[in-house]
Amino acid sequence: MKTIYKVEDLSKEYDGKEVLKVEDFDLFQGEIFGLVGPSGAGKSTLLRLLDFLEPPTSGVIKFKGQEYHQTKEPGLDIKRKITTVFQEPALLKTTVWKNITYPLKIRGIPIKGELKSELENLITDLSLWELKDQRADKLSGGEAQRVAVARALIFKPEVLFLDEPTSNLDPTNISIIENKIKQYGKRTGKTVLVVTHNIFQAKRLTDRVGLLHRGEFIEIKERDNFFNSPDNKLTQKFLAGDLLP
């Protein structure tokens, strides 16, 4: 499998306290990776570094063979290949339609032809067609998160990060969002990394799973092996719901 991300000796400190220390981590092209771990494990921090929203304190992030570090961040053209759907949808105070098409607008991509029908299909798949002209700040939590997912998928990012995308959502919304994420990963061959502390979600969605604990990777394995035959005691404790932060 082709590596899209390679992380080497990555560290992040806040106020002199190290919250993340990843010696070696590879993310493969086309896989759906599940990043699990208790609260405060450093999952969201790792995502912010991989999405180049924050620089690391030390270490290297290789994206598609190019090295980036504390003083060298990628250009806008590279950053535009990656995006994150956060736990909070963070929508603009405008219509659903304008929110979803925002990434196209900032990239100067006109909505016509095949893209227009793709957009319409995406909106329909996420059950948003009826809401497309509504103001986004009037939506329910589940509707808003579906808009956030549509907004992230419309420009077909090479890497899609999702940070607890379905926390606090009802089963229907979880199902719609999970199906779309899985479909995106499998049909387009793009890379997806989903942060979750829901073990069942990781089982449903992912190809590989990694446990992060106190800023360090404890174990990374193929999904079935991770859940059925974990090597590390901490992983076993985590799966038993017994791992403290």
Binding site: T83, F86, E88, L92, K93, I106, A148
Partner: protein
Amino acid sequence: MHTLIQGFREAIKLLISLDPELLQIISVSFRVTGTALFVSVLIGVPLGTVLGLVDFPGKKIITALLYTGMGLPPVVVGLFVFIMFSASGPFGSLGWLFTTRSIVVAQTILALPLVTSFVMTSVLSIDIALIRQMKSLGTSRKQLLWTVIKEARLGAVVAMAAGYGAVISEVGAVMLVGGNIAGKTRVLTTAIMLETRQGRFGFALALGIILLLIAFITNMIMMKFQHREIK
């Protein structure tokens, strides 16, 4: 009371007959305050947005200066601008004193801190998560700045209304640097002062009614905008 009623009658008559002197004063007022507000918005909106978004050394000092600027005594601003544009001042050679240009400068100095700080406060109230999300979606710095301005638009409108309110009703600085020259630098407020002193209460009241009308319309526009945002 009799004077007041008579004044009102005269004011209505002047307004209905579209008195040329009255129209001249209104025209100068709109031109001057409009230009001052335009310049203030042009500088204040991006400056307030940057101040709300970016941390840099000296930001606290600039913010403190800005807040001080919100309470600047207009007459002191007038004095400062007067000295700057007087014959012996650094910009004396421009010949702007007792022209509408010097009034625009004075009014801009008064409106700019208001516009900037209102916009800054509005930008600061935007959720940091939204800014992070916009960056993650691939906005350039300019696009991020524009998106934030649009998100803070309610604050920007309030800023404009506050700035306009401050300059349209200002008299001290305008009197000092403009000189209240008929047909040239006479604006609504300075004309009210003059007409009152001369006992032409009707004319002064007509000007006063127009000032109030402008304030009313400005607030109506603002309320309509707010209502649309909240709805």
